[in-house]
Structures are given as C-alpha cells and as structure tokens.
Symmetry: C2
Subunit: 355 residues, 2 copies
C-alpha cells in the first residue's frame, strides 16, 4: 500500500533511500502524556477495553497526528495480546503494569499452548488496523508491532512485570528445552500475527524486545535474537510480507548491534545508551537505524531540546537510513508541547544532511 | 595492611599479579539469601539499625565467610549513608527500597549541603570497619565501598528508587549547573568517606555506579564517569589511599569499558550483558576485570552452575587480572548451597588458567 502514501519518508528511510528530511515518530506517541488520550481511556473504562475496541484504538492512534507533524502512526495495542489470546487472561492496571490471571506454572501449561488463530483470537487488532488505515487516508504509514518471543515469555512465566526475572531466567538456565518450546510457539504465533497485521494494511512492523537487555550475550543470541531472526525470515517468505520493512528493537541491546544488524531485519532501534555514530559504524550499510534521543531531554527548554536533537542528527551524519525517535517510550509526565518542538526540530535541522 | 593477609588473592588479582586460583566474592554476599542474615536483621529491627550498629554490621559481614571459601569480605553498609549524614533522613523499607524524608527539592536545598565530617557523621561505618578488620584476623581482605556521585544524586533528588528518573534527568538536562554543583559536593564527600574507610583498615574500595547505565554516552562521561575519575585521583594522592586498589562498577556500562579502563581505576566491574572476553580485549592491560556470571545461573543445578562458571573463566582466559563475581547482587531467593557450588567451582576450574 506504500504507493498510495502521501508521506513515505519512513518507508524510504527504512529502505535507506533518499529523503528530504529525516522522518520522526515517537514510541508511545499515542499515550498518557496526551490529555485527549487520557479522556478516551477514561471513557473506555480500562486499558484492555481500549485495546479491544477498534474504534477507540483507532481514535487514540490518530490523536498525536492531529497535534504533531509526525511521519508515522503506530497501532495502539499491547505487546501481550498474543498470550491473552492463548488464554492467560491479561489485565493492565494503571501504574502497576500487566498481569496474567493464569501465568505459566508447569511444563504442562506450556505443552497445552496453541498458536492462536489470528482472525478468531486477535481479530480486534486486525479490525483496528483496517479502520486506522481507512481513517489515515494515506497521510502517513502505519506501523504494526508485536513483542519479541523472549519478552512475551518473561511476562507469561512471571505473570507480571518483574525485577529479577527469577522464574523466567530460572527456566532459561534450568530447563532450557522447556524455554525453547515456549519460544518456538511464540515465534510462530508472532509471525502469524504480524503477517495478519500486514495483510490488514500495516506498512511497517516492529518487534519490541523490551527485556532482551537483561540477558548475557550468549543467552541473548540463543533465547532472544534467534527467535526474532526466525520471525523476520518467515515474514519475508509470506507473500506481501516481503514488502513491509521490519524493525527490531532490543532495549539495552547496544552491545549487540552487530548481531542485530546481521539478523535480516531492515532497521535496528537504538536506546540512548548507544552512540548512534558508533552504532552506524558497526551496522554499516546492512540496516537503517532508529533512535535515539534520551526521553528525559523533553523535560528541558525548547532550546535545549533543539540542541540535543542536533547532536543525534550529527551523530548519524549525512546519508540515508535514519528514522528519528526517542530511545524508549515517552513518559506520561512530558508536556505535549515539547513533542512539537522535537518533531519540528528534526525536520528543520535534518535538511542539510539530505542534500 | 595487605602484608598481614593470609589470603591476598584479591589484592594480587586487582593488581594483575599472578595468583594460584581466581579469587571470588559475591555482590551482596552478606544479605537476605542467608537465614542467619535474616535472623540478625530481625534482631536489629530495621535495616538502618543494622547499618548503624558496628557489632551487627560486623556480624553480618562475617556470616558468608563462615559458610563459603570466599576470597574477600565486603563491609555491610548502604550506598546512601552519605546523604543520610547530610541530613536527608534515610530509611530503608523491606521490598520497597530506600526513602529520604527530606529529598532535594530546590536549588537552595543543594546550596545548603555540606561535606560531612566522616568521624562525626559516619563514625559508625569506620567503627564497623575497625571491628571487622579485628575479627577477620587477616583471613581475607576487606572491601569498603561507596555509591557513585551520580547514583547517590539520583536518590537524593528522586527521594526514592525511580523508574524513569524524571526529576534527576530533568535536572541533568534542564539545570546542568545545579547538577554539577551537587555532583561536586558528593564527589568530595565520597573521597573523604573512602579515605576514612581506608584509614580505618579496608584493603580495597569499590564505587557502585548503579544508575550510570541509564544515561547516554555523553551524559555518562560528563555526569558520572568524570566524578568517579576525580575520586580515584583524589584517593591516589591521599597518603595510604594510594595503596588500596579501586574498583569502578557501572551497571549497564558495557558500552563504556574503554572509558572506564582509562579512568585511572585498578579494576572495572562487569555486569553479565558484556562478554568478559570482549571486555578484556577492549580494556587491554590497563585494568583488572571483575565479574560477571548471571546471578540467575544460581537457580539451576550444580552441574549447570559449574558449566557457566567454566564459560566465564574461559572467556577471560589465561593470565592475571580476573576477580570472579556475579554481574549484579545475589537475589534473596537463591539457595545458599548454590553459592558454595559457585565458589568451589571458581577455585577448582580456574587453576589451569594460572599455571
């Protein structure tokens, strides 16, 4: 569907093709820092109703585009929709994070898992994608997403957010075969899910590996990156999927840029701990890079924000293949006006890098 | 005092001198995973009483040495004793972490801070050091420690543990001069404090930069490493301090090993996200390395623990300058018997690397 887009900067940058200015979007751009989001969420009653009602998910997806000159929309959803569809019973409590009513507690719990039928179990996500695409009228591309197998597995095993990941890592080291069994079914589920999103209309997909960064290098390669690599491969071989650029983002994965860049994906997301200049020199021309301003810069003045935007742009330097973003999701207590400063600064200050 | 030590493996390894086997100690080795620690803590009533009563601090410091063949003791204390001595009112609530009754809320709060007199304000720590040294009878070296300026500053500003560090990073980007003022007074306080610990008898000092890893590279260099570098320099020039090896540990600092290795310290602590083999190739012969087994390996069987110990030892390889440790502190739910497996495996399996 990219041929119909009025603004295809994101797709061009992800393919390392020339653009007029660096495209920019913000992780969690549809979120709690926006008063209109908070109003919709209050109307929805709770987070999962917001996710599961396509009209509401569409509404909040489009909200930041009405305020800011963003180069992409990102589907409003959650990384834990798949285990919810597998029957684990997801709820998301404000300020407490996600909880599963039925976390995985035994080998038998894992054996009983099945790859969800996307239309039957996750049709509300596909409906939201179709509705958002219609409402976007080709203004900007729509990004779909999923959690990484390892990241989703940690929540399924821990039952909630965790500090030490004792249960998940306990399984990784103690029962690695069981962990591989879980990661295998998750990676097949995620492949189906992302292919479903692509078929429904998303232009780009991103895999959020929020907890890959808690692993050792060896464990990361075996238990996280390997399964993301399989998803990338299997999306590539699935018809239209071969067209949609794929972004991999391992939070805290700065040490493993070389591995990520060799995974077959189109772009690697960077948090702010990794110099984008160093990342580019490691990644070479294998992938585009997405990132990586420290979210906390948005607490400061417009002049300071512009200066730090300029530093990230200078870090990447001239040439194609940069998508500007924060290094993590935006915080709920950021003033939305600061996002406008950021977005406009990226467009204005990046022009000289694209002559 | 090192000449009187019966076991000086730690000091020799930190100075990259030959040893018979690789020395090993465990971050938080005196802690909640030990039933005898929990008993002493219950007797103390609360955490700060445990810290502030030299007899109790000594008791828990020595407990792990009675169980395991460890090559060092580490002073039982807290990284937030300095701001407590500055008047911020520290309490530590079980499972909730530290809290300050009077966090820094204004420029004036920072202006009013003074470098604490170590004997007057932190004498209980020095008393604990003297008592522990006496009770150790030279069995192993005693490690003293402090938090890094940046890490202590985050707690003083946030008032507690934080998820996003909005206030601390907001100051870093928005009022960098104010942040530098705070970091300056903290680094002078830490220098005095560590010099006091050294004068009281500790053989080694370690600086825990628990939150350096949340920064961008540029911010890390300016707001964290620079102040640790000053502390190292000022300890070196302070009489006996010049003899005590200094270990710097930035959790999540794997990307910045080269900077850490050039800071003037004797050893760099590694968490488990960084390959120790890669770290050694970057650090060269500038520093010793300490680390870096994933704590979660201790949830698995003795055979699995031995295999992962062997991998870390092989990663560092032959030669001098390795101190074995976990990559973070041990978790409260680890079986103490697994620590015995770890310690014995390090001694047994490292022998061939020291021929």
């Amino acid at each position: 569907m990219s041929e119909k887009l009025l603004n295809d900067r994101l797709l061009r940058a992800l393919r390392r093709q020339p653009v007029d200015v660096t495209p920019v979007w913000i992780m969690r751009q549809a979120g709690r820092y926006l008063p209109e989001y908070r109003a919709t969420r209050q109307r929805a009653g709770d987070f999962m109703t917001l996710c599961k009602t396509p009209e509401l998910a569409c509404e909040v997806t489009l909200q930041p585009l009405q305020r800011f000159d963003l180069d992409a929309a990102i589907l409003f959803s959650d990384i834990l929709t798949i285990p919810d569809a597998m029957g684990l019973g997801l709820s998301v409590v404000e300020n407490k994070g996600p909880r599963f009513a039925r976390p995985l507690r035994s080998a038998n719990d894992i054996r009983k898992l099945a790859v969800p039928d996307v239309e039957a179990g996750l049709g509300y996500v596909l409906d939201a994608v179709r509705l958002i695409k219609r409402e976007l009228h080709g203004k900007v591309p729509l990004i779909g997403f999923a959690g990484s197998p390892w990241t989703i597995a940690t929540y399924m095993i821990e039952g909630a957010s965790s500090k030490n990941f004792s249960l998940a890592k306990g399984m990784l080291y103690g029962q690695p075969d069981r962990m591989h069994q879980l990661l295998d079914i998750l990676s097949r589920s995620i492949t189906d899910y992302l292919n479903g999103q692509i078929a429904a209309g998303v232009d780009v997909v991103m895999i959020f590996d929020s907890w890959g960064g808690i692993l050792s290098h060896a464990a990361y390669l075996e238990f996280s990156l390997e399964y993301m690599r399989r998803i990338v491969r299997d999306i590539r071989t699935a018809g239209r999927g071969s067209e949609a650029p794929i972004i991999l983002f391992t939070k805290g994965g700065g040490l493993w840029i070389d591995d990520l860049a060799g995974s077959g994906c189109d772009a690697v997301g960077l948090d702010w701990t990794m110099d984008i200049e160093s990342a580019r020199s490691i990644a070479g021309d294998r992938v585009a890079l997405q990132g990586n301003l420290d979210t906390a810069v948005l607490y400061s003045s417009p002049a300071t924000i512009r200066r730090h935007v300029a530093e990230v742009l200078a870090g990447f330097g001239k040439g194609d293949g940069h998508v500007f973003n924060l290094g993590h999701g935006i915080h709920p207590d950021i003033d939305p006006d600061k996002v406008a400063v950021l977005v406009d600064a990226v467009h204005e200050l990046s022009r000289p890098y694209h002559k």
